[in-house]
């Protein structure tokens, strides 16, 4: 029986009412009295030397408050990077400065050169056009391999080359891997591109800076997934504002998908300019501006080799990846192709030897950083594609080849530094096969053929590392931050609770699901629990939401804090009911004394905590408020098996997705409705990557896909209804809820299924196509069919 309330139920989302009635409060809905507006003048060339900037005409325009250039930011820090990678020789990565406004050079189309603060956004934009910038074009480097060639133009003149780092993992395994590949019975090799994407949350980024002279404090309203991280990075590294004088508010945020994790120059600018201009300043990105300033995602070029023995057991994997960093290092950029990618190269399989090499490269493009999945989609795509190719080369069933190599015993220590605590990959594969009627595929294929279409079945597995992350581990790996999460549970006198969480909800429904957990623990109505997030002024220091971490890490902190609350409340109840503390039980919001008929309601105990007339003051303080910080001791490892059926039109190369099925193991599930919605959205983004989306630059570094006219977002008519299932549940062994995280799975698991399916469709007509790079546009698929 589905539950009606608490953990495992699917109550309607409480946040929906405000979103459905136009009462949401997104950053662009915030207007501070007296505010001015900001527009940025951005570079229209990919690489150039700034010879001079003449702002006089702009400054003379009516309504212009002030024009800023890099010289106004002398003494101000650069935008910091939060992760330092150590290369194969043990040296730190090359880390260039990232100024708030371009200094001396522009390094990508969209690099901000100057900013106008004006009475209206329209005046600010007009004034930007009146700024005269004298730029000498320099040759740009866009292609990563060309960027590493001898004599290539350097993105940063003060670095030795465009190589950020050359990382080997696990370096000690390299010779053994080489040997295993040389001696293998069969080696399948695949070269592929993981296409550059733009995250495209529907809400463009916005920043509103406000400065209060009376107490010398600054407030930034911003579209962020992690307001505390922005406060720390911007306050400590860029502007030199102590955290107690800086408040960062991320109110309703219209989607993030990773690209709203990072600290951006516009945030620092608005905070700085509000003080400099002595009035609030607001910047709202246009979509075109978002395309050239939001951190992009993916953009890997990879060669992978999979070695198998004569019995088709995987014996070794070797990969070489070039990873695009863009022109500057975004907040977490260096970690994505390394620790979020290399550590997942074992996938669901017991391959004993793995070596991953990653060369991170600076180019004259927008910075690249984490996008939904971040490193794990790149790992999954190459692995699941090369396995499918191997199955085709060996003439074996792709399901059987996977099954034979599955990890089946847990915990399992991979050769790439992580330990899977639990899982059951056979179970999710079994579930998937039940869902897709594989036996009926040949009949469906014939039916498609009767209509002149080619039908393919593509499937794959995936695993991801979520619940990011154990601080001690990531500290050893180069993280400059801890990755715990926090929660404060404040119980009010009349029994209602306010949970203040460091996690941030930007579509995930935390206000509903987090309340389910706390209400379930106490046994009270969910409506008595309010979830507060997104404001550094009223939440404990937290690391925010990304990496499918909110419930696994933030939820765990909330559970720990609630446990403290319950323990204290039991002490109070024991005193009032004159019973031993150990005899007090809490169920359905009632405290009872075991073996007696004595009881006290939750609200009577909470009232006693704040009206301590009859209260054990000598033993415990009045009040009922507790904080917990939770630092996980491992990642969580959601995993699953995905399949799709596609139909290819041989006349045009157009691919239609007919069905998509996802069998996931997320461990325990708090709100099935929300979990399914997360998977649906991830699938759409993964299918988007596989078939439609591509962030394209020309050779000179012009961004060709800078609007929705050119960047193909998946539309409602492009997608089928999805089959999703999360009935296979191996609970996480190391967090109190047994949850693993579900936010990224769909985006990680779906691209290989689509490509495998199209390759299968083409093979049915005799087209032996080893691989087609994403996105599988009609032109590419048609060309592949022509040989």
């Amino acid at each position: 029986m589905p539950k009606d309330t608490g953990i495992g139920a699917s109550p309607k989302r409480r946040e929906d009412v405000r979103f459905l009635t136009g009462k949401g409060r997104y950053t662009d809905d915030i207007n501070v009295a007296g505010q001015a507006h900001v527009a940025f003048l951005r570079s229209d060339v990919a690489h150039g030397t700034i010879n001079g900037i003449d702002t006089s005409a702009a400054e003379a325009m009516e309504g212009v408050v002030r024009v800023f250039t890099a010289k106004d930011f002398e003494g101000v820090g650069g935008i910091p990077c939060g992760w330092q990678i150590t290369d194969r020789q043990g040296n730190p990565m090359q880390e260039p400065k990232h100024p708030v406004l371009a200094e001396g050079k522009v390094r990508h189309v969209g690099d901000p050169i100057a900013a106008v603060v004006a009475e209206s956004a329209a005046i600010a934009r007009d004034a930007c056009e009146a700024i005269e910038v004298d730029i000498s074009d320099l040759p740009a480097v866009i292609d990563m391999k060309k960027a590493l060639a001898d004599g290539a133009p350097k993105v940063h003149d003060d670095l030795t080359s465009n190589l950020c780092y050359d990382w080997g993992f696990v370096e000690e395994n390299r010779e053994a891997v080489d040997k295993a590949i040389a001696e293998a019975a069969h080696v399948t090799t695949l070269e592929l591109v993981n296409n550059r994407l733009v995250a495209n949350p529907m809400e463009p980024r916005v920043a509103v800076g406000d400065y209060a002279a009376h107490d010398d404090s600054s407030t930034l309203y911003t579209t962020s997934q992690n307001p505390h991280v922005i406060r720390l990075l911007m306050g400590a590294f860029v502007l030199g504002i102590p955290e107690h004088k800086l408040r960062v508010v991320a109110p309703d945020v219209g989607g993030g998908f990773g690209t709203k994790i990072f600290h951006y120059a516009e945030e620092a600018f608005c905070t700085f300019a509000a003080k400099a201009c002595e009035r609030p300043v607001k910047w709202t990105a246009s979509r075109s501006e978002a395309f050239m300033s939001d951190a992009h995602g993916r953009d890997h070029v990879t060669k992978i080799e999979l070695a198998l023995d004569a019995d088709n057991n995987f014996t070794a994997i070797r990969t070489e990846t070039h990873a695009n960093m863009g022109a500057y290092l975004s907040t977490f950029a260096p970690s994505v192709p390394t620790w979020l990618h290399g550590t997942l190269m074992a996938g669901n399989y017991k391959t004993p030897l793995i070596y991953v090499n990653v060369k991170a490269v600076f180019t004259n493009t927008v910075p690249v950083d984490a996008y939904r999945g971040a490193g794990r989609p790149e790992a999954t795509f190459q692995l699941e594609r090369v396995i499918d190719k191997a199955a085709r080369e060996l003439g074996v069933d792709p399901v059987d080849l996977r099954r034979q190599n599955f990890v089946t015993e847990f915990p399992y220590a991979t050769p790439v530094a992580v330990e899977y605590d639990t899982g059951d990959y056979g179970a999710t594969m079994d579930r998937l096969l039940e869902m897709i009627d594989r036996d009926g595929f040949e009949a469906r294929r014939k039916e498609s053929e009767s209509r002149g279409k080619l039908r393919g079945l593509g499937l794959n597995c995936y695993i991801e590392a979520c619940g990011i992350a154990p601080s001690s581990l990531v500290g050893q790996l180069g993280a400059r931050a801890g990755l715990y999460e926090s929660a404060t549970v404040r119980v009010n006198a009349t029994g209602g609770l306010v949970v203040m969480t460091g996690s941030h909800s930007h579509g995930q429904g935390h206000e509903t699901s987090f309340a389910q957990v706390v209400a379930d623990m106490i046994g009270i109505d969910e409506n008595q629990v309010e979830i507060v997030h997104g404001d550094t002024a009223n939440t404990p220091m937290g690391m925010g939401t990304y990496g499918s971490r909110s419930l696994a890490v933030g939820g765990s902190a909330m559970v720990r804090a609630t446990e403290k609350i319950i323990a204290k409340a039991k002490k109070i109840a024991a005193h009032i009911m004159e019973a031993a503390e150990g005899d007090i039980e809490l169920k359905d919001g009632q405290f009872t004394v075991a073996g007696t008929d004595k009881s006290m309601a939750w609200g009577d105990v909470t009232l006693a905590a704040y009206v301590p007339h009859n209260y054990p003051l000598e033993e415990i303080e009045p009040g009922l408020e507790e904080t917990a910080f939770y630092d996980p001791n491992n990642f969580t490892y959601p995993a699953g098996a995905y399949a799709c059926e596609v139909e290819v039109d041989p006349e045009t190369g157009r691919v239609e997705v007919l069905s998509f099925a996802a069998a996931d193991d997320f461990g325990n599930v708090v709100n099935p409705m929300i979990v399914e919605g997360q998977v649906h959205g991830g699938l759409a983004q993964g299918i988007g990557q596989a078939l439609f989306e591509n962030c394209a630059y020309d050779e000179e570094g012009q961004l060709l896909s800078a609007s929705y006219m050119d960047y193909s977002m998946p539309r409602s008519s492009d997608l089928p209804m999805f089959q999703v299932d999360h009935s296979c549940q191996t609970p996480c062994t190391h967090n109190p809820l047994g949850v693993k995280g579900c936010g990224e799975a769909g985006a990680i698991g779906s691209p290989p299924a689509i490509v495998n399916g199209v390759i299968d469709a083409l093979a049915s007509a005799g087209h032996d196509v080893g691989h087609i790079d994403m996105p599988l546009t009609p032109a590419k698929v048609w060309a592949a069919m022509q040989g």
């Binding site: 979103f19 997104y26 809400e203 219209g254 989607g255 919605g677 759409a684 929705y708 997608l719």
Partner: protein
Amino acid sequence: MAKVTMTVNGKTRTAEAEGRTLLVEWLREGLRLTGTHVGCDTSQCGACVVHVDGEAVKACTALAQELDGAEVTTIEGMANADGSLGVVQQAFQDYHGLQCGFCTPGMVMSAAALLKENPKPTEAEVRHYLEGNICRCTGYHNIVKAVMAASGQDVAPVAAE
């Protein structure tokens, strides 16, 4: 600048507009009706859909001055008289047809316009009609279900799971 007057959600409202002021800017900045959102600058995303004289219109495609005297309904005008959610709004909540909520106002306004034209749309008709509204969160699955449910149809057969 000129004063522009429209009937918005049943009330006469007046605010100033420049010649270049878009309807969506006039609503958001002039009237502080911030439920209507701006998600792009090329009239592609549909976050700003409102009803103008009964028709669904992307409010970034119309100039405020040209709509003097028009009758406009925004997301703020879609609830029932007693404040409860209207049929389409309620279906979006019931079927989890929204996540971050940013595309939602435009989706609801487009869906309401569709159901006015076509009271019992098929799944394919819903998907075709909503092509001009981009959602990045839901993968459209639950939006399609919500729209069909709002039309009074049983959505169990279209729900693949």
